[in-house]
Symmetry: C2
Subunit: 93 residues, 2 copies
């Protein structure tokens, strides 16, 4: 495998591993999750958890680290989105 | 590789490939991107594009298909988020 191709893979992995941190920071600052899709974060968190599990079963460290890192903001955003939805349902009932 | 482990990988890939469609549908319905992080969608779209390119260079069809599918909602959400930001900047100036 040519050296340059591997770099693309590592950079791609780095981007998708850190991508959710800006969203988590925005949620921390604004506590606004109104336009965030609960469905997306449920499926995304499930997918990342499965990738993490897959990495553990394969004993593949990059997969474990990338998805382990990615799980942190994803679980946080999912939790705040659910919490805000429950709050807004209580207020409107 | 035990049969069951591969299934986890395919299911993980399926989840992360389709995860953004519910968010794209919510954006289509509400046109509300206020709480969505532009930073996240810029980095996410860049990462998915690189994974797609990486798949093309490796001639890896599952990678090409999964990331090609995933690019559609990601680019759409990025576009609408940028457009709404420009609109809100114009209104406030």
């Amino acid at each position: 495998m040519a050296f340059d191709i591997v770099i693309i893979g590592y950079f791609a992995g780095f981007c998708t591993a850190i991508a959710q941190f800006p969203q988590a920071i925005k949620v921390i600052k604004t506590n606004d999750t109104k336009s965030i899709s609960l469905g997306m974060y449920f499926i995304m968190t499930l997918g990342i958890t499965l990738w993490f599990l897959y990495g553990v079963l394969l004993k593949n460290l990059p997969m474990i680290i990338a998805n382990g890192v990615c799980l942190i903001p994803s679980v946080y955003i999912l939790y705040i989105t659910i919490r805000n939805l429950i709050k807004s349902k209580k207020l409107s009932s």
